[in-house]
Symmetry: D2
């Protein structure tokens, strides 16, 4: 997407200069996971061999995530020690590249409130001193990213950077970040369609959303608590675009057989002139992982670029990518696109001046 | 729609000040047609009685259209005489109101080329002098509207005002006009969805459009020639939004049983990252007449307003309403909406200054 | 349906000889309810006047249901007194007609287990003697129907006649009955489609069923307990037709705006030869009340006929009408149809001999 | 399917005893075509290597079809010589196996009328003597199959064996045959659903059928003449099941991008009680080749079996497999299934006695 002519790609990292590393909580080799994607019909078989060597090199750059075998474990030094270990990993990785952007693409966590311990960075440090561990795992990673001086992207609805202590830390260090929760499928379609009803004064009476998905993400979301953070995000965006609360059920269901695929069915009941009852239904059949992957690359390029030109804090011009744009109530896709292209032009301008 | 807060409605005619008249080619009483709409489930039965008196008053303001019983017929004085008769009808109607806007909501005509006779208003007059009748019926009405000093709206894909001679006439008289072909249903949805694929760099491989409709409009479009002018309009808009010609069949089928209702099914095949094959389907079930009716009211208000503030020529800011916006290749709904709201603000500004 | 040529309608009650009465728990006049159906687009407005007088006559035949104003209330004489009051009402109605069939079309109750008190009619009487009230309301009505010598139809999934004590009573009195839970919409489609997958050896991997409905029935089913008795019935039929448990969510959601209408979306994932992944989706848009109404008439005719020719006990040849046919695991629509037509021929034969 | 418990598979050829050969008009190696199927997502990549050796052996058994390079060409000896060459090929193949069944799975031909020359086998021979070539290519193959003493299956709507001269020949030689036009996708679903409307007395007002397909079959059917033979077959079956002509368009559209996949959308408008307007839509996404392949194996087994037990002429019990069952107006899937299982039991019985 960052190569589309409407976006000014001046100064973005070339695709072939991007180096991938990361923390992972499973130790299935990447090549094996790529084979699974081929078997699941997600990527063509012919791609496997050409990327095998690069996958092996990437494998070498992976470090154990929190709570996994081979990690220090949380016991030894508490949450602060976890953060410090992750910082060391990131700095080691950073030694070989020009700039690092950390993207959270792990499984969705349950909602988590860090409470008073997360109210400021000082409070957080005090909690650590007292042996408490107030942060959710996603926030531990976000904290490490900031301490290592990296831009950050919240691609999941997990708490991550959205804790006052961490946002304060980002501001203090002058680091840019963006989030949250990648807008890849059914919500993407919604954000294109809902403004149509609003600007045409077609009264939406109910909007039903059914999401069927398998794979690891589906299994996580079969947990009602995790699903609720997802459906809440979907619902509030819709209400904002339509202009009032919209009735209708919203389900996320795990269907094992669907594998990496997702099928969504939406049913919209709206009234035309004089109350005439009309409907719009759509069925979306996509593959979340291949919808997300290019956005992750785009976001890494854009957040890296933002850091280059000296932007810091929330990058609200990147709301285009997210279900729940941080600090923004703009969910309409076209308006988000215009904000993004305008921002890319400003970045390019700033770099030239 | 013109009452939405994003549109500046300063100076628009109040709804209860709008007086409806017109030329009609059938003589079924309006009250009878309203009963048919109730029987077809288009408007609620409860509406009938409250509007019956107003329908009867409107009936009194109808004049016979071209080629109908009670009209002078084309024989007596040729096309010029037709125009003159229509002008007299409009002027008579105009005597009782502040301003008249003429909207073409008749059945779709076949494509028609006025040729050299339509190349300029002088050529048109010469053709009439020579006894030729180069204009399609829709253009005869458009010509009369202009000669009567009215703003004009082309709500169908018929030739209407889109003849060089008539556009020259409008410019010369300083009259505003807008068109063409109301964007009410499936094309409306397309113009909301296609930009999503474009800005997300999702490669659209085919886009199939099936339109089933009954009623008078359906019967007209069962004529392949009329349907072709409709599908051509639909196709070119899609290609413009996607950025290249898009494969896929496009059908308009008459299904008698559907009455005033229209069902459209669209099937979009697109590729995600690395060529992953995905699809989006939608089914639209709407009633074209009640989708069109409020747009006609909005357009009458807006074109009347344009004339008030001295605008003339094509009102390209009204592209939001049309499948084939005159002199414009902008089909994206959100961008059209922004152009419209900006224009409404400028009109209000101009009126105040 | 009972007038289709494949069914032998010999001896069925003529439609114009059917007299409708009943117990009701609301006191909204029938004519008012008919007006609501017209307003909701369920029945044509033109039907209202022709049936108004008959509705008023029917109104006169309604008696207060259990627990409603005007009824004796349960306090006075316990459940036995309730039964006796209902029997008197039915006998009074029966005085004016040749034969009475009682059909349960009330709202779905929660699952209810009468326990040991319902194990035999003797146990039930003993429980009443002891002042207990072991029957669900639907079963109180069923008991009254049997004591009044009527055939009985369980058109809902409520317990009704499906209590050992009552089935024993029906057998002892030689009364026919049929049930349960009318197969009117999405389950009907399933029972036509599922055998296709089975006989074509297409392996069904998941079958998702989404039911959106408004109206009174929808409000009742928004109660998870009532919904679970409904989804359980839907699920077991599917498993029986496919031949093994089938994965996939099944939802019944209340969407107020849908009124009397129901929209169901089903998504079937199946594998073809060599594991090729395929799907079938369907969307059903129907009106449960007008789907149920003619079945109720048909059932009244058929059960009345069964009683005429001396059939008693469960009429398993009537499984065609039900989601959960009593004492049968045959859910396939075509096989049910053949059983029904064969039975109708046998009834006719028996009457002739 | 022939292994389902409801079918008596006594005496059917074991799957691993089936030997595949044939005439082909293209010379792309089978292994290459299998790779294309893998690339198109039709069969899993993992299947390729295990079958490669068998594909190569099959390749050796292929002979050039009519009009292809390496064939004798039609010039030398006319249509009779073509037939004789094909007979020799079949007899050579037959030398290595117990029994041969010839299945026409070539591309759909245009409708073709052999006229008086095809009225009897004597007339056909006379036409050949006179140097005429009255048979369509598919009928030339059918003729050769019969002369070689083989059972025959018409899996396409091409004329094939459905010429009086050839049916006479089959009868004379006591050979069984079945056809025509494999019922694999949308028509299969129709034949499961249409009886539901008929037996429930739901009045079908229109039935729209849209078929999108790519691949070789799609390209052939983009030819309107070929498509018309296909849609005609689909339409007549529907009318027979519903009991009267059903309105509604029926399209077969070529969409190159769909490759071997087919997407069908059907829209059924029906009336419930008192004329309430309801709809059923379905979308079928299947792969015709993998839907057809197992049916071809089943048919080869069943027709071979029929020949073993001495059946000859049209096997109307095999209507289950076909869009246009020869000499039958029974299109209902469930009834066809019962006819098939009954026949399989009779065959088994006959073999035992």
């Amino acid at each position: 997407m960052t190569e589309l002519p409407d976006l000014d790609s001046t100064g973005l990292a070339p695709f072939d200069a991007i180096v991938v590393g990361g923390h992972d909580v499973v130790d299935t080799p990447l090549a094996k996971r790529a084979e699974d994607l081929v078997a699941g019909g997600v990527v063509p078989a012919a791609l496997l061999e050409p990327v095998r060597a690069e996958l092996d090199r990437t494998e070498q750059r992976l470090r154990p995530g929190l709570g996994t075998r081979g990690s220090d474990g949380p016991a030894a030094g508490g949450q602060r020690a976890d953060v410090e270990r992750l910082v060391r990993d990131i700095e080691e990785f950073a030694a070989g590249v020009d700039r690092v952007v950390v993207v959270d693409v792990s499984s969705t966590e349950q909602p988590h409130d860090a409470g008073a311990d997360g109210a400021s960075y000082a409070a957080l440090e005090a909690a650590w001193d007292a042996g408490r561990a107030p942060l959710a795992a996603s926030s531990v990673y976000a904290c490490a990213a900031l301490l290592a001086g990296c831009g950050y992207v919240a691609f999941t609805p997990s708490p991550g950077i959205d804790v006052p202590a961490l946002r304060e830390l980002a501001d203090r260090r002058g680091l840019p970040y963006a989030g949250r929760d990648g807008k890849t499928g059914e919500t993407l379609v919604k954000s294109a369609l809902a403004p149509m009803f609003a600007t045409r004064a077609l009264a939406v009476r109910s909007w039903t959303s059914i999401n069927l998905l398998g794979g690891g993400d589906g299994a996580t979301l079969a947990d009602p608590a995790a699903a609720s953070s997802k459906t809440q995000a979907k619902r509030s965006g819709l209400d904002a675009m339509i202009g009032h609360p919209v009735d209708g059920p919203m389900h996320i269901d795990y269907v094992d057989d669907l594998g990496d695929w997702k099928t969504a069915w939406d049913h919209v009941r709206f009234d035309g002139f004089l109350g005439t009852r009309m409907t719009l239904q759509f069925t979306w059949q996509g593959c979340d992982s291949t919808l997300a992957a290019p956005l992750v690359l785009d976001l890494a390029r854009l957040v890296g670029r933002a850091q280059d030109v000296g932007e810091s804090g929330v990058l609200d011009a990147l709301g285009f990518f997210f279900k729940s744009p941080l600090d923004s109530d703009e969910h309409r896709l076209a308006q988000q696109w215009e904000a993004l292209t305008a921002w890319s032009a400003r970045c390019a301008e700033r770099a030239r001046s």
